[in-house]
């Protein structure tokens, strides 16, 4: 009886709301939404403000010196009277280490993510992923110190052998895979199984020998290289790739995990092997997430300052030949960090504003690449959903 009456009371209270309660509800709803909106827009406003303030101090440089010197000359002598502000080599250096670190970190990171999500048993993954993510927790000064004190002398003293081993270890699996796939493809069209097997064996031997020769020849070539200075683009690229790795692995692993079990099982049900499932089903389905991971990793490398300042050598010239990763380079971020000390509106106006011009350039580059990746992600999603 008592229960009934209480229940009844509650029911009527739930449906009949007094005008006062309704007003309170409305106010608190608007306030809550307003709060959330303010918090969300705060981040956007911060970004806009950064853009505004950097641009405000960058524009005077272009007014003073124009565009052509900054983008076409490599003469960086900001402290001279009169100063020269050619940043071409510095921009090139930034792109070089970013590309270099991406070339190391992207294949490694994506491969590690695939391994973690689809190949390793769950019990190992549980431990492996946190360990990889721990890399992200190491402060960049520690990385820079390692690069300057350990890796640089190591590259100088044992650079050639190290390059040779890196070439062998990194390239030989791909060559083996390539030889197998190419000989398979070339013999695929032959109908007669006897002849096909013979040709396959022949091609395998020939291509295998070529591959071994290539490995050996390039290996000895690399072995002979004497690295003059250990603080160079290669050193920085290696360290930056380690710094970008946890981001790439962790985000792409999440993307691979997000591809549902149903899709994997559907693929197996159609008779696909695990390799086919990974390459033809899971990777395309997760491609937008992997791309986002790659862009995030690259941005990490582009924006990193401390490691680059300590380990790139900071010499403002374009390497010769242009792909020479064994020369010291200088990047935008390191230049801003290194030249900020003396640059002052009081003692030299262009010298101060040129650093903001560099900051603006970095902002624009990351803005554009974010935009592009966003576009690709949207398009990919459309293609996948069959629109």
């Amino acid at each position: 009886m008592a229960d009934d009456s209480v229940g009844g009371n509650n029911r009527t209270n739930a449906f009949v709301i007094s005008a006062r309660k309704r007003a309170i509800q409305k106010v608190s709803k608007t306030m809550g939404e307003g709060m959330l909106l303010a918090v969300a827009s705060f981040v956007a406003i911060v970004v806009l403000f950064i853009f505004y303030f950097v641009a405000r101090d960058a524009v005077p440089f272009f007014q003073l010196r124009g565009f052509s010197e900054f983008f076409t000359s490599s003469n960086w002598y900001p402290a001279d009277q009169p100063g020269q502000f050619g940043a071409l080599a510095i921009i090139y250096g930034s792109l070089m280490v970013t590309l270099g670190s991406a070339m190391i970190a992207v294949p490694m990171g994506v491969a590690a993510a695939i391994c973690l999500s689809d190949i390793l048993p769950f019990s190992i993954r549980q431990y492996a992923k946190p360990v990889i993510e721990m890399l992200a927790a190491i402060p960049s000064v520690a990385f820079g110190f390692f690069a300057l004190v350990v890796l640089a002398p190591l590259l100088q003293n044992n650079g050639g052998p190290m390059l040779m081993w890196a070439w062998w270890i990194l390239v030989s699996p791909f060559l083996v895979l390539g030889v197998l796939v190419v000989s398979d493809l070339l013999t695929n069209s032959i109908k007669d199984p006897q002849r096909r097997r013979q040709l396959y064996a022949f091609l395998l031997t020939v291509l295998g020998l070529i591959a071994v020769f290539l490995l050996y020849k390039v290996g000895t070539l690399l072995y002979g290289i004497q690295i003059l200075t250990g603080t160079n683009a290669l050193n920085v690229s290696i360290i930056l790739s380690f710094m970008a790795l946890p981001t790439i692995v962790s985000v792409s692993e999440d993307a691979l995990q997000a591809v549902g079990r149903d899709i994997r099982e559907g693929s197996y049900a159609l008779g696909a092997t695990r390799a086919e499932t990974i390459i033809k089903t899971i990777l395309p389905a997760a491609s937008s997430g992997i791309l986002a991971a790659v862009i995030l990793g690259i941005m990490r490398a582009l924006g990193e300052t401390m490691v680059v300042w300590m380990a790139s050598g900071n010499s403002s010239h374009s390497p010769e030949p242009w792909f020479n990763y064994l020369e010291a380079i200088r990047t935008l971020t390191a230049t801003i960090a290194g030249d900020m000390g003396e640059a002052d509106q009081v003692t030299g106006s262009a010298r101060y504003h040129v650093l903001f011009a560099m900051g603006l350039l970095l902002l624009v580059i990351s803005f554009i690449s974010n935009l592009v990746s966003e576009r690709i992600v949207v398009r990919q999603r459309k293609i996948l959903s069959g629109q």
């Binding site: 490599s74 003469n75 960086w76 002598y77 900001p78 402290a79 001279d80 009277q81 080599a89 000064v141 110190f145 300057l148 004190v149 640089a152 002398p153 100088q156 003059l228 200075t229 250990g230 603080t231 300052t305 401390m306 300042w309 300590m310 050598g313 900071n314 010499s315 403002s316 010239h317 010291a328 200088r330 960090a337 290194g338 030249d339 900020m340 000390g341 003396e342 002052d344 009081v346 003692t347 030299g348």
Partner: protein, 279 residues
Amino acid sequence: MLYYVIQSNMIKKLLHLAALLIFTAVGTADAATNTIVLEGSTTVGPLAKSFATYFTKKYGVRVTVSESGSGNGAKSLINNTCTIAAMSRAMKEPEIAAAKKKGVNPLAHVVALDGLSIVVHPGNPISSLSKAQISSIYRGTITNWKEVGGPNARIVVIQRESNSGTQESFKELVTGKGVQITGNAETQSSNGAVKSRVSTTLSAIGYLGLGFVDHSVKTLAVNGILPSVKTVKNGTYKVTRPLYFYTNGQPSGLVRQFIDLPRTAAGKSMISELGFINQ
């Protein structure tokens, strides 16, 4: 070594900021005259720090020392954010003009003399270069050690960053003021970082304040004369420069006493202990 490498600019600035914050938080009761803020050259740094320790012990005055380069020292003095600017070069005309405009009257006090040592890897057979040869190396007209009688190896040129007083005095004393240093030169941000690079790179050349030289690098004789207390003092070693403390006008009270430290017996022994030279 860790200590030297981590001296790089940004950290120093952060540390300085942190020190300032702590200082303002803890010591608001302290009168402004009871603390001395010293900022500037990394070369003068060890000297300033040892002076500061001594001074704090003797007079109970807090002295904060931050090493961010001579340029930063000048900037701080102009902006009135430090009491003393430590500089390893003289103030430049535009800096003095900027200071005057802000009502600051920079006054130089010579602390000690410093021989700028030209250093190479201990494994380098070269032991002496002429000033003209060093200048050519830094201008990029000589690029191989064999051009100066050494082995056939490209020279790795190491310089200091643009707000270093050591860099300025090197240019003034060796290459000439308006000369551009080759774009191939690597840039390091402190004496310690230069030493670390030269001591690990076989074909490197760099320059250090005399107080920073140790057995890990080899000092070259310039025009046949090695830098030493004697040759710097009597002026036969040509690449010599004074190190300065700059103050805003004639200092008084405790600041005066700090500035006069180099002329006391205790100051003199600290200077020679750290490898600098009493004037």
